[in-house]
Symmetry: C2
C-alpha cells in the first residue's frame, strides 16, 4: 500500500484529539485520494475509531447534512451516522433520504423490517459521533407510539413473512380445498400500518375531471350506484418468490406459493362512479390512467398509490369495482375497509386498499410502487444496472399454477397405490385457464388434470370470454409408478391465449423476484409397505 | 389360435372360386367372430387375396357403401377399396366420408398431399376388387381439370412446403431485414385452390342480423365506409412446426420459422360494416361469434370457414378489417383478392381470405378448420385419444420470437470479434413485446436486445395499450466469447402481460404441431483465423 495514506491518517488522529469533526478528513480524502486508497484509508480509520472516543455532534450540525452533496447524516439511539455512501445501496431505494438530518427511529417503527441485528451491524459501520445529550433529550418528543399498534388481530394459522407491515400467507395445502378462499386465510400484503377509518366520516374523492371534485360518502357509494359482484383472484407480484430465491437471492419478502386467493367482491363499478363524476368522450381524448391513493400513509404523509390504464377502468367488461364487501361481508381492516379497488386480472398491488382518492390523469401514478418497485427486469440486470424507466409497471400477470397437495417432502405409502395431486391455476387479463398438465416423472410425461370452476362437483363452466377473473382448482389421481422411490411432481397451466409457464426459474430470474411463474415442482417419497403378506 | 376360424376361411375361398363378393365373408365375420379372431382371419384373407384374382364389382355396388354401417368403399384407378376401418385413422378426419361410394381422384387432385407413394401403399392394403370396365369408362366424365391450374405465379425464392394447395415461406434470414415484409415474400398458407374473383361481380353478403342480408359490392365497401390502415403481423398456427417435429413427429406442413409476416392492411372496419348491417344492443344479447366464409371451396361446394368472438369483431379497439389493400396495393390473389379479413392479434387461419360471406351467430363456425383442426392439445394426447371438443379453437396466439440471423450452422470468423444477432418477436391479443433476451451460451446468461418498432433507426415507440398488432424486430451485438468454438444462440421474448416463452418443445408438444413457441436455438461455429501474425 502507498505510504501516501499515512499523512492523512495522522492528520485524522490529530483532529480527533482536538475533538474536531471527522468530516474534515472525509473532505480531504474525497478531494485528493483515488478510490482504492480511500478504501484502505477507511479500513485504518475504522480500526482507529473502534478504539477511540467519537466526537460529540449537535442536532444542528446533523440537520445541516440532508443531501448527497452535503452528506447524509442520521441519528439512532444517541449515535450520529454518516450514511452518504449507503444511500445508493439502500434496499428500500431513495426513501431513506426522508430520514436525512434527523432521527431514524420513527421510520424504523414504520418499516419494521429494519428491526434486525444485521441492519444494526450495517448501521454501526457508519457511526461518526455521539449526539449532544441535551439534543437527545429533545428527540424523545418526536417519538411516536408504534403505528402498528392498532393493526387488527390475525389468524394464528397464517405464515408471517413480515409483522410490521403485516405480510402473511395461509398454509398453502389448504388453498385448493375451497374454491372461495376464507377471508381469514386470504393472504395479507400491507405496505404500511392499517389505517383506522370511521365509516361515517369516510369520504372518497374523485378528481381530475373537468366538473371538479366529486366527493362520496360510504353510504352514497352503496346507494347511488348499482351493486355488482364478481369472483376474482388476487395475486401478489411476489407470489412464489421463495422458489426464484433458490436460483439466486432476490430482494423482497420470501413468499411461498400462498400469496394468492380467490374471493367474491361486491361494490360499485368504477366505470359508473367515473361517469357520475363527469368522465366522457372529451376526457377520453387526454386521459390515460386512473390513479388510486390509499389512506395508508408514509410518515411524511404521502399515501400508498398506484394506477391502472384508463381503458381497463372505464370498460364495461373491465369489471373494476370499488368494493365494500369481500365474501359477502364488509371488507375487513386488513383488506381495505371500508373501500378497496378490485382490478380483476391485474397484479395485487394495483388493487389499492383503504381507498381515499381517485385521480383521472394523463400520467401514471408517480408513487414509488408504480415507478420503482413492481416492474420486471431481464435476468442479467442487477441493482447496479437497473434502469426503472426501461420496464413497464406490471399490470396483467402471466399464467400461473401451483401444486397445493401433496406438500414438498411428503411420504406416500406404497400400499395406497394411487396418488391424488391438487392445486390452483390462474392467468391475468381475464384469460381463462383451459388446461393444467401434470407430470409425476419430473416432466418426461404429462397428464391432463380435471379443472373445477367452483366447489360444485364437475363444474366446468366457462366465464364470458376475456372475463375469467377467478382461478380454477384442479385435481388428478394417478397410479403410483411401481419402481419409483421418489417422485418429482410438476404442474403447468395453459390459458386461452395458449400462453404457458416457462420450464425453469433461471431464465426468468429478476432482481426483485417478481413474476415467478416457472413450473411448480414438488418432490415426494414413496415408502414401502412394512408387512409382507 | 382357435380353429373356429378355418370354416370361415374355407367358406371365403369357396366363394372366391364362385366369383362372389368378399363382402359376404365380411358380413359373416362381423356377425360371429371376436375382434382378435377377425384380425387373424384378415391376415389369412390378405394372404389369399394376394395370390388370387379379385372380384369384379359394379359402380352400383360401390355406391351402396357410403357409411360406417354399410361399409365405406371408394374407387381409385379402376380398383375398389373398402376403407371402412381407415376412416377413424384418416389424418384429414371425417372429410374422407365425402368420397364414400365414389371415385377418390377428384379429391386427391384437390388435396394434393395424397399424391405420395406411401399413401398409395396404405390404400393398396384395402383393395377388395376391380371396378367393372364399363363403369370405369363412365368415370372419366367426372374427371375435372386440375383446380390449381389457375393459381398465381409465385416468387421462386419462396420455400415451398406444399404445391397444391400452395404453402410456402420466405428464406427466414430476410425476415428481420425489413419491418414491413414485402408482399412477394409474405408466407402463403392456402387450404384450397385460389379462387378467381372478378372484382366487378364480387359481392359480400352479411347475414344473421334481424334486418336481413346486406349485400355489398367491392366499390360499396371502399366508398361507404371509412378506410382504416393498420400494421399487423399474421402468423400461421403451425409456424416453427419443424422444430417441434424434432421432439416427436407431428402432423402438418413442415413450416420453418418463416410462417409469419408483417404488413400494412387497409380496408373497412368490420365493426362499421356490422353496424351498417343492423348490429346493435339487441343483437349483442344473443350474438357470440362472427363467422366468415371464403370463396375458396371444397369439391363438395362447401367453403373455407372460420369465426371469431363477437367482442373482437365489434370492439372499437379490435381493429378487425375487411381489407382490400396489402402494403398499399390491391390484395394479391394469394392473400385474398379482393377482400380478406384481417383479425389483428389472432391466429392466421381466422383471417379468412377471398371473403364471400359474414354471418353473425350464436355459434362458432362449424367448419373443419374451426372445430377439428386449429386447436391445441396436451403433450400426452395422440390421434387415438384426441377429443376435439376438449380444447377451444385457437384465437389469440402466445408470445413468440425467433433468430433470423445468423442461420443455423453458420461459421463465424474469430477475427470478426463481434457477433450481431437479429430476429423478430411478437405476441397475440395486442400485447406488446417489451423485451427480448438473448443468450450466446445456451441459456446460462442473457442480454437484452435492442427493439425496433419500425425501420427508423432507434424507433422504440409503443402502440396504444392492447393494440400492439405488429411485431418488433430486434438486434444485439455481442463480443465473441474468447474460448468457445461453437455457440448456442437463444432468444426469448416477454410481452406486456409478462408472459414469456417456454424453454423446451417436449412439454408443449401437441399432435397437430401448433403453437410451437419454445425458445429458438441456433448453433453456429467459430473458425479460427488462419494467418497468425
Amino acid at each position: 500500500m502507498s505510504t501516501d495514506v499515512f499523512p492523512g491518517i495522522r492528520l485524522y488522529l490529530m483532529r480527533l484529539v482536538c475533538k474536531q469533526s471527522v468530516l474534515t478528513l472525509k473532505e480531504l480524502l474525497t478531494g485528493c485520494l483515488s478510490s482504492q486508497i480511500k478504501k484502505a484509508t477507511r479500513f485504518y480509520v475504522k480500526a482507529i475509531e473502534k478504539s477511540s472516543p467519537l466526537p460529540i455532534i449537535s442536532q444542528e450540525e446533523v440537520t445541516r447534512h440532508r443531501s448527497l452533496k452535503d452528506g447524509v447524516w442520521v441519528t439512532y439511539q444517541g449515535g450520529v451516522y454518516d450514511i452518504t455512501e449507503f444511500v445508493s445501496i439502500h434496499p428500500g431505494g431513495e426513501k431513506i433520504m426522508m430520514a436525512a438530518g434527523g432521527a431514524i427511529e420513527p421510520f424504523w417503527s414504520l418499516y419494521a423490517v429494519h428491526n434486525q441485528e444485521h441492519v444494526l451491524e450495517i448501521l454501526s459501520e457508519y457511526k461518526i459521533g455521539e449526539l449532544k445529550a441535551e439534543d437527545l433529550k429533545k428527540q424523545s418528543t418526536f417519538k411516536s407510539s408504534d403505528p402498528y399498534s392498532s393493526d387488527p388481530e390475525r389468524h394464528p394459522a397464517l405464515r408471517t413473512n413480515s409483522l410490521k407491515p403485516f405480510n402473511a400467507e395461509p398454509p398453502p395445502e389448504i388453498l385448493a380445498d375451497s374454491y372461495i378462499t376464507p377471508t381469514a386465510f386470504f393472504f395479507k400484503r400491507n405496505h404500511l400500518p392499517v389505517p383506522q377509518v370511521d365509516p361515517d366520516l369516510y369520504r372518497l374523492h374523485v378528481e381530475g375531471l373537468p366538473r371538479g371534485v366529486l366527493t362520496l360518502s360510504l353510504e352514497e357509494l352503496k346507494t347511488r350506484f348499482p351493486k355488482h359482484t364478481i369472483t376474482a383472484t388476487l395475486q401478489c407480484a411476489g407470489n412464489r418468490r421463495s422458489e426464484m430465491n433458490k436460483t439466486r437471492q432476490v430482494k423482497g419478502l420470501n413468499w411461498g406459493f400462498g400469496a394468492i386467493g380467490n374471493a367474491t367482491w361486491s361494490g360499485a363499478k368504477l366505470r359508473d362512479v367515473l361517469l357520475a363524476a363527469g368522465y366522457g368522450p372529451d376526457v377520453a381524448q387526454w386521459a390515460r390512467h386512473v390513479q388510486f391513493e390509499g389512506l395508508d400513509k408514509e410518515i411524511t404523509g404521502s399515501a400508498y398509490g398506484a394506477s391502472i390504464p384508463i381503458n381497463k377502468a372505464v370498460s364495461e367488461e373491465g369489471d373494476v369495482l370499488l368494493a365494500y364487501e369481500m365474501n359477502g361481508k364488509d371488507i375487513p381492516a386488513d383488506h381495505g375497509f371500508p373501500i378497496r379497488v378490485v382490478v380483476p386480472g391485474v397484479v395485487g398491488t394495483r388493487n389499492v386498499k383503504w381507498l381515499g382518492k381517485i385521480v383521472v390523469s394523463a400520467q401514471e401514478s408517480s408513487s414509488h410502487w408504480q415507478q420503482k418497485d413492481y416492474k420486471g427486469f431481464a435476468p442479467g440486470i442487477d441493482w447496479d444496472t437497473v434502469d426503472y424507466k426501461s420496464a413497464p409497471a406490471i399490470q396483467e400477470l402471466p399464467v400461473q399454477s401451483a401444486i397445493t397437495t401433496p406438500a414438498e417432502g411428503s411420504v406416500i405409502d406404497r400400499s395406497e397405490e394411487m396418488l391424488t395431486v391438487k392445486g390452483y391455476a390462474w392467468s391475468g387479463g381475464g384469460r381463462e385457464v383451459i388446461r393444467v398438465d401434470v407430470s409425476v416423472d419430473g416432466g418426461k410425461t404429462w397428464k391432463e388434470a380435471k379443472l373445477k370452476s367452483s366447489d360444485k362437483e364437475g363444474d366446468q363452466t366457462s366465464p364470458p370470454l376475456g372475463r375469467a377473473w377467478a382461478w380454477k382448482l384442479w385435481e388428478i389421481t394417478v397410479p403410483l409408478p411401481p419402481e419409483a422411490q421418489e417422485l418429482e411432481l410438476i404442474c403447468k397451466a395453459v390459458d386461452n391465449s395458449y400462453n404457458t409457464q416457462p420450464d425453469t426459474f433461471g431464465p426468468i430470474w429478476n432482481v426483485r423476484g417478481l413474476l415467478s411463474n416457472a413450473w411448480h415442482r414438488v418432490k415426494v417419497k414413496i415408502s414401502e409397505d412394512d408387512d409382507e403378506e
